[in-house]
Structure formats: structure tokens, C-alpha cells
């Protein structure tokens, strides 16, 4: 929300008269008279001598044209620290009301609300409100014929304004406008400023998905381009109170927002993306309003994609060296047992398929159980946790090494034997057991894929997990089922050979590509250094995997085994303890410090801290305070074009201005507080503290030019 000083006191009504001036002196006089005759058009709510809220009625036009529309706005300006409420006030408070009493023939549209702020009070009481000033707007449709010279529109407004305590306020307002076919825009800045904050009812330019969870909804956002943080504000639903959504940082354009509401009823609200400025879109869950109709389809596409990949992945498992030779053996086995009866061969094929399904659905059940043991909330935000990304990366890397043949995964002998015995009996039960056995035997080749699928499956709902694993099972069972139905087609099976080993090795590369993506995400979260430390840790893991594969095989001597075990322990300790536990863990802190300390440009920036700022100000020095962040493109643009220029650098030096940089790339509570002090929730933001004006800094515009900056700091007249 903007700071109150953007609109000097008393400009509102004179502005209305000024726009009337283009209409001729007659109207100017008339409007001036009506302004003075109607002292209630801008009444203030007083509390213990303090002006809490000033309410003003205004229009975006200088005159009312017949048969047209115009916008009528209620401007509330709150005293610093006080807030009024959004249409859903949140945990406490009351929505502001604004009801124009229109003359006959006029019609008013619904009330439009700018994006609210989230304000958190003690006890985790969260409200959705406005600070500074807010403009609530209704679109008014005028009748086709109007035969009066002017129209007076009275309006009733009532609100609750709160700080530590709450005071209700109300006002009877009136706006008088001339009737004319030709109109000029009025109050354009105000309307433009708040129109930009109205949520859009159109299709959002990102993908959304809704998944019901035990605690409400999980709202998934994907492909949000450059935005930094996502938030959700629910519309009010009396019967189904919606809890607070915690805002989430977007990582690689994705975030999952938890919307707590008992029983997952239909929910509507506003998704707000923040990237210096804030933009909002109205969204609705499945079974909500017509606006929501597109979202289930989008979610379905996502599910079908998963299933297709599961199917393909399951099918590819058959081409692995441990699996392919088994296929023809199995089919020949069915044929022998069934005595060449086509129907019986198919029955065995079906029993075998059932075994495969049981195995994979069992795996899915284990994952779902694990997932429910941790809470839904915990797993939904995993990719925002660099530690999670690090662990998944390590698993993927080790699996890739396995595919490259650095080491083999050996199954415990006893389990294999038990199943083999079970499968040894003939009949359909035997084929069923063999289906389980075949998948188990295939584990050394399939583990890398299943493990990766498992990692990603954790972020999905139980239904998606089960469906995905069923698809993998279907993909894997497909050739057996097909060949048991058409045994003659066995001649088309590719011959086992060295190509299978090559295929296995090749499959390691897609896994490494996935690892690159994870490292990119880690880099976004914790900076370049974190990527290096994670990679160093993976290197140690790789060394351990190689030692395991090379020296811990069944043929190694006892001494070699002991030495290799020691070396493995050492490299794991180095990797996990030193690189991960120490360096990676500290990387986040070091990033923010370094970013501020190393000047990225020609200006000798001093890193911001409130203590440093107060020290410099106390010394009577002027300060230019730049709130910026690496991900803020406007900030970078301003830096290149308006701040880091020869003229500005010279002016800073000549006038002894201390350039101070508040880097908000990573969350920094001190900077957030400082921004909040000026009712800001984002960057860029620029302050100039003139000499001796430590308490009253000048706020510079967000779109800065060199000339504006030079004038503000007094380097130019």
C-alpha cells in the first residue's frame, strides 16, 4: 500500500474542481460552491483528537455523460499504523461498506477491492487489510437521457479502523458532477494506481492445480515466470471458515500454497504474486464458480502426463539387462505349463501381471503410508527446502552411478530364495508369485528409476501416487500380457545382447540432467557456493559408491574389505559432515553477506543495517538508501540507467552522500521491517535522507530516472 505522503492533504477536492475548470468558469464556481456547501464530502473520523480515517467520494470523470459508465470511488486515508479491512476481513475486523444512493435510472456495479495486505497480530490473528490509503470502486451506468444540468450522488460509507484497538466509523458523502456529453478523465493517478491493484478475473498467466488434502486444499502454482513470492487470500465463506495460507517463495516458478479449510469445500480467492509490485488473479477450486472450470482440466492434464510417463517408464524397464532375458523364458514357461492351450497361456500371463501389479501397488501403499506419517503440509513444500533438494540430488546421483556400472545393487539372498521357492510351484499361484519375483529380480536395474519416481511421488497426492505406480506396473506387464495372448509374436522380441548394457548406461544421463535441474534450484535458493558444496558432497558420495563397487564385492579379501569400508566411512564423513553439514549449511548466510559486501557496480555501497544507518545519520551525513534484490528486474534497470551513472556517482562524492544498499535477495527481517515502516511490501524502494532530516526521508519513485534522482539529492535545481 502506498504511503500517505503520495497524496498531499487537501489535493483531492481541489483536483475535482480543477478538472471542472476545463469546463469553464461557470462550473468551477458551481463546484467550488458545492464543495464548501458540503463539508461532509471529505469528513474525518476523529479519535482522541487524532484524525483516524478521512473519507472522500470521487469519480474518474469531470462530468456525467448520458448512457455511459464511469467509476465512483471511495477513498479512505488512514492514520499511520491504522488499517481498514478487505471484503474478507480475515480472523477479525469488518469489511468496509460503500453504498451510493443513485438517482433513478442509474445502476451501480459490484464493489471492486484492491489487493489487501496480510497483517499478523499477537496470537497469530491474521487479517486482510489496507494501510495508508485505499480506493474502493463501483462502476456506475448512467441512463440514456438526462435532462438536469448536474447530478448529486449521495453515498453511505462505513468501516472499522483498527490498530491495537478498533473504532467503527461512517460517513455520509456526496459528489456533484455536471451532466455533459463530453467528459474529461479526473483523478487519473489515483484510479490508475488502484486499478493496477484490482485482481484480474481472467485466466492467470500460470498453471494452477487444486488438490484436496486432509487439512483443506493444496493450491499448486507452476510456471509463474519472474515472480518471487506467492500468497492466497480467500473470499469469505460463513459456513466454512478458511484458515490462513502462509505466503511461499516461488522456486523456479513453482510453489504450493496450503489452504486450511475443514472438509475441502469449494474455495474461491485471490492468488497474489509479488515481484516488487503485486498482481492478483481470482481463482476458484473445483466445483466452485464457472471461473474454475478450466482448473480441473489443467489438473487432469498433469495426471495424464504422469500416467503416460509411468506407462513408458514401466515398459522401458523390460529393456533392462536384468529383465529382457526373463521375458522369453517366462513366456516359454507359461507355454510349457499350459500345454499349448492358448486360453491357459493367457491365464498364466494374467496371473503373472497380477503379481507385477501387487508389487508396485504395495510400493505405492508404503509411500502413501510414509507420506501420511509425515504431515501433508510438510511434504507439499519440499522443493522449497534446499535440504530436500540436496537429498534427492544425492539419491539421483548415486542411482546414475549405478546405471553407469560403478557399483551393483545386490539383493539379500534369503528374500530372493523364498520367493523363488514360492514361484517353483506350478499353477496360476506360481505364475502370480513369479510376477512378484520377476519385479524383485529386476530391482537392480529398476531401482534407479523407481527411486527417482519415489522422490517425486512424495510431492503428489495419494491418488496420483497410486495411479502412477499402477501405470508403471501396466507398462512393465504389457509385453508379458501381449505375448501370452499372442505367443507367436515372440519372434519380434529384440535379442538380448551388449546393447542392453549400453542402454542401461545411457539411461544414467537423463538422471544426471535431473540432477542439474536440482542444482539450479539449490543455486536459486542458496547461491553459487551452495551448488559447489553440494557437488563436492556428491563427489565424496561417488567415491564411496566406487569403493563399494570395486572392493566390497563377494571376491574381495577380508583385508581389502576392511580398508575399503574405512575409506568409504571417511569419504562419507567428509562429504556429509564437512561439505554438507558445515559448508552447505552455512552457504545461505554467506550469500547475503557477500552480495552486499562486493560492489557489483561503480558505486561504493555500504551494506544496510538499521544501526549503521542511524550511525551515519547521527553524524549528520546524507544517505541514499537503495532497497534492491537480485531477482528484481526493475531494480537492476534503475541501477543501470539512473543510479550507477557517471553524473550520480560524481554527485554522491561531491555532496558527501553515503550510498547504502539494503539487499533483499534473501529474506531479511530487518529490511522487511524497514520497508514496512514505509508501508512497503516490495522492492525497488528508494529513500533519500537529506542532511539534518534523519526523521523525514524523501521517498523517490519506483521508476527512477537520473534526473529525478539528481534533483532529489539536490545536485540539480
Amino acid at each position: 500500500m502506498s504511503e500517505a505522503s503520495s497524496l498531499p492533504a487537501g489535493t483531492l477536492c481541489p483536483r475535482a474542481t480543477k478538472s471542472g475548470a476545463s469546463y469553464g468558469r461557470r462550473f468551477l464556481a458551481a463546484l467550488l460552491v458545492s464543495f464548501f456547501l458540503l463539508p461532509f464530502s471529505s469528513p474525518a473520523q476523529l479519535y482522541q483528537g487524532q484524525k483516524l480515517v478521512e473519507a472522500t467520494l470521487l469519480a474518474d470523470t469531470t462530468a456525467i455523460a448520458p448512457g455511459q459508465t464511469f467509476r465512483l470511488g471511495l477513498l479512505l486515508r488512514m492514520a499511520p499504523g491504522w488499517h481498514t479491512y478487505w471484503e474478507n476481513p480475515g480472523d477479525s475486523g469488518l469489511a468496509t461498506e460503500f453504498e451510493p444512493q443513485l438517482p433513478p435510472g442509474f445502476a451501480a456495479g459490484p464493489l471492486t477491492w484492491p489487493l489487501p495486505q496480510r497483517i499478523i497480530e499477537p496470537g497469530d490473528i491474521q487479517v486482510y487489510a489496507y494501510k495508508g490509503e485505499v480506493l474502493l470502486v463501483r462502476t456506475i451506468t448512467t441512463p440514456a437521457d438526462l435532462d438536469t444540468a448536474e447530478i448529486s450522488i449521495p453515498a453511505k460509507a462505513s468501516w472499522l479502523v483498527c490498530e491495537a484497538i478498533c473504532i467503527p466509523g461512517k460517513a455520509d458523502l456526496q459528489l456533484t458532477l455536471p451532466v455533459s456529453a463530453s467528459t474529461q478523465p479526473a483523478n487519473t493517478e489515483l484510479f490508475a494506481k488502484f486499478t493496477a491493484q484490482f485482481p484480474s478475473a481472467g485466466q492467470p498467466p500460470f498453471t494452477i492445480s487444486w488438490n484436496a488434502t486432509p487439512t483443506g486444499w493444496n493450491l499448486g502454482l507452476r510456471d509463474t515466470s519472474a515472480a518471487r513470492q506467492a500468497d492466497f487470500f480467500p473470499f469469505a465463506d460463513d459456513k466454512h471458515p478458511v484458515g490462513h495460507t502462509a505466503p511461499r517463495d516461488l522456486v523456479a516458478g513453482a510453489a504450493d500454497l496450503a489452504i486450511p479449510v475443514a472438509g475441502s469445500p469449494p474455495v474461491r480467492g485471490i492468488v497474489v504474486l509479488e515481484n516488487g509490485d503485486r498482481r492478483g488473479w481470482v481463482v476458484a477450486s473445483a466445483a466452485g464458480t464457472p471461473a474454475a472450470k478450466d482448473t480441473p482440466a489443467a489438473a487432469k492434464t498433469g495426471l495424464w502426463t504422469y500416467l503416460l510417463f509411468g506407462l513408458i517408464g514401466g515398459f522401458i524397464l523390460n529393456l533392462m539387462p536384468c529383465v529382457l532375458p526373463v521375458i522369453s523364458l517366462k513366456i516359454f514357461g507359461f507355454m510349457r505349463q499350459a500345454g499349448d492351450s492358448r486360453a491357459n497361456i493367457l491365464k498364466h500371463g494374467l496371473a503373472f501381471t497380477a503379481g507385477i501389479f501387487l508389487w508396485f501397488l504395495g510400493l505405492a501403499a508404503v509411500i502413501i503410508a510414509l507420506k501420511s506419517a509425515g504431515s501433508e503440509v510438510t511434504w507439499a513444500f519440499q522443493f522449497q527446502n534446499p535440504w530436500f533438494n540436496y537429498v534427492i540430488g544425492a539419491v539421483i546421483f548415486v542411482f546414475a552411478l549405478n546405471l553407469f556400472g560403478v557399483f551393483e545393487i545386490v539383493l539379500p539372498g534369503r528374500a530372493t530364495q523364498g520367493l523363488a521357492q514360492a514361484g517353483g510351484h506350478g499353477g496360476l499361484a506360481g505364475s502370480f508369485a513369479q510376477g512378484i519375483l520377476a519385479t524383485l529380480l529386476a530391482t537392480p536395474c529398476t531401482a534407479p528409476f523407481l527411486g527417482t519416481a519415489l522422490g517425486f511421488a512424495f510431492s503428489q497426492t495419494s491418488v496420483v501416487i497410486a495411479a502412477m505406480f499402477a501405470a508403471i506396473a501396466a507398462g512393465m506387464a504389457f509385453p508379458y500380457l501381449l505375448l501370452s495372448a499372442q505367443p507367436g509374436w515372440m519372434q519380434y522380441l529384440p535379442k538380448p545382447g551388449a546393447w542392453m548394457e549400453r542402454l542401461k548406461q545411457f539411461m544414467g544421463f537423463p538422471l544426471l540432467a535431473t540432477l542439474l535441474w536440482l542444482l539450479y534450484v539449490i543455486g536459486q535458493q542458496r547461491g553459487t557456493e551452495a551448488v559447489i558444496w553440494a557437488a563436492a558432497s556428491y563427489l565424496c558420495l561417488g567415491l564411496a559408491a566406487w569403493l563399494y563397487g570395486a572392493f566390497l564385492g563377494p571376491v574381495s579379501s577380508g583385508r581389502a574389505r576392511t580398508l575399503a569400508t574405512l575409506a568409504i566411512v571417511f569419504s562419507l564423513l567428509l562429504g556429509l559432515g564437512y561439505f554438507t553439514g558445515d559448508l552447505f549449511a552455512r552457504s545461505a548466510a554467506s550469500k547475503s553477506q557477500k552480495a552486499a559486501a562486493i560492489p557489483t557496480d561503480g558505486i561504493p555501497w555500504v551494506p544496510y543495517s538499521e544501526a549503521e544507518l542511524q550511525r551515519v545519520l547521527a553524524a549528520g551525513q546524507p544517505v541514499f538508501l537503495d532497497f534492491t534484490a537480485d531477482w528484481c528486474i526493475t531494480c537492476k534497470f534503475n541501477l543501470r540507467t539512473a543510479i550507477d551513472t557517471k553524473a550520480v556517482r560524481e554527485a554522491f562524492t561531491r555532496l558527501g552522500i553515503v550510498p547504502m544498499l539494503a539487499d533483499w535477495t534473501n529474506s531479511n527481517p530487518e529490511i522487511t521491517r524497514k520497508l514496512a515502516q514505509f508501508d512497503r511490501v516490495g522492492v525497488p524502494f528508494y529513500l533519500f535522507y537529506a542532511p539534518g532530516k534523519a526523521d523525514d526521508p524523501v521517498i523517490l519513485p519506483e521508476l527512477l530516472t537520473e534526473q529525478i534522482l539528481l534533483r532529489a539529492i539536490g545536485a540539480q535545481p
Partner: protein, 200 residues
């Protein structure tokens, strides 16, 4: 690994604290609070009776709406007359709006004509937080078996205007009448409206 373990633990803890508020249909959390006359009340003392918890702050315009119109007192009289225990709870922290000493509490009770069974003083906000009370007035109804059967607003007219009391659907009256007639509560949970509870 240690740090990883701590991170995981922190996640689980964070997820746990978010689920503090009791659910309708579940047992109401037990508590003991001292009233304005210095007498301690334990929720279990009232087993076998319906109990209403009313979060109270006489400085709040929403509370004033229901006391100045006489609406709250009328409800209190009607149901305490039917052997319902009505406990008003003040969770305002000392120094914040609505907090009162025991003497001031009794004075206010007399001036407002409150017919509550007792006014409980919860200055550190423990019981307020236990129940997840967010606003004043916010009302909870507990059945004779100790289960929470209603949580939310007093009625469906979100305003500070005393004239809105007439014609509003009073959820508390509705829930008590239904439950006392042995029927299930038709609207067991509503979004409460009011001022924030002034926790410390």
C-alpha cells in the same frame, strides 16, 4: 546429518503447532481458570451440563453491539435459566484493551447486567489460544459429554450496528435449541466476526 535431522524435526513441529484449535465434534480441551470472585473453575466441574464459552472485551465495538442492545444478556438469562453454564472469558493481556482487574470485572458485570455464570480471567491468553479464539465475541458450545458442538459467531450479521441484532440468525440460540432437543447442530461452525482478541 545432524542439521538435516534438526530441519526435519523443525518441520514436523511447525506442522504440529498449526493444528492447535480443537475441532467441532471432538472433546473440548480441558482448562482451569479463576473467575472475578477468585473461584477456580475446571471445565470438568460442569460435566453433565451444556457449557457456553463467550470471549469478552467490553472495549470492542462488536461486543458493545451485543451488550448495548441487550442481546447477549438476554441469551445469558434465557439459557442459564435452562441450567446451561455460561462462562465469559477475558483473554486480553494486562495493559491491553478489555483487560480488567477482578473488581473492575465485577463492576462491569453489574453495569452491563450480564447474566453469565462466571467471568473468567485469562490474562496470559492460555485458554484463548487453547481454543483458538481469535475475536470477541466468539462463542463455543460444549455438550454434557464434554464434546465441542459449536464454534464461531454469535449471529450472521457481521456489523457493529446494534439495530442489526433484530432479524439476524442467532447461531448460538439455534445450536443450543437443537442440541437440547437432542438433535444434531445444523450449523456447527461459522466464521466468527469481531475485534481481534488482545493477546500479549
Amino acid at each position: 546429518m545432524n542439521i538435516l535431522g534438526k530441519t526435519t524435526l523443525a518441520f514436523f513441529l511447525a506442522a504440529g503447532t498449526a493444528l492447535a484449535a480443537p475441532e467441532v465434534g471432538q472433546p473440548a480441551p480441558a482448562f482451569t481458570l479463576t473467575d472475578s470472585n477468585g473461584q477456580a473453575h475446571n471445565l470438568s466441574d460442569f460435566k453433565g451440563k451444556f457449557v457456553v464459552l463467550e470471549w469478552l472485551n467490553h472495549g470492542c465495538p462488536f461486543v458493545m453491539k451485543h451488550y448495548d442492545s441487550g442481546n447477549m444478556q438476554k441469551l445469558q438469562k434465557e439459557y442459564t435459566g435452562k441450567d446451561v453454564v455460561w462462562l465469559s472469558v477475558v483473554s486480553s493481556a494486562p495493559g491491553k484493551q478489555g483487560h480488567m482487574s477482578p473488581a473492575e470485572t465485577n463492576q462491569a458485570k453489574e453495569e452491563k447486567g450480564s447474566a453469565a455464570t462466571a467471568i473468567l480471567i485469562d490474562g496470559d491468553g492460555t485458554v484463548g489460544r487453547l481454543y483458538g479464539a481469535r475475536v470477541t465475541p466468539e462463542l463455543y458450545i460444549i455438550d454434557p459429554e464434554g464434546a465441542l458442538i459449536y464454534a464461531g459467531a454469535i449471529d450472521n450479521k457481521k456489523s457493529v450496528d446494534p439495530t442489526d441484532v433484530e432479524g439476524a440468525t442467532n447461531y448460538v440460540k439455534q445450536a443450543l435449541d437443537e442440541a437440547m432437543a437432542g438433535q444434531p447442530v445444523s450449523t456447527p461452525k461459522t466464521e466468527p466476526y469481531g475485534c481481534s482478541v488482545k493477546y500479549n
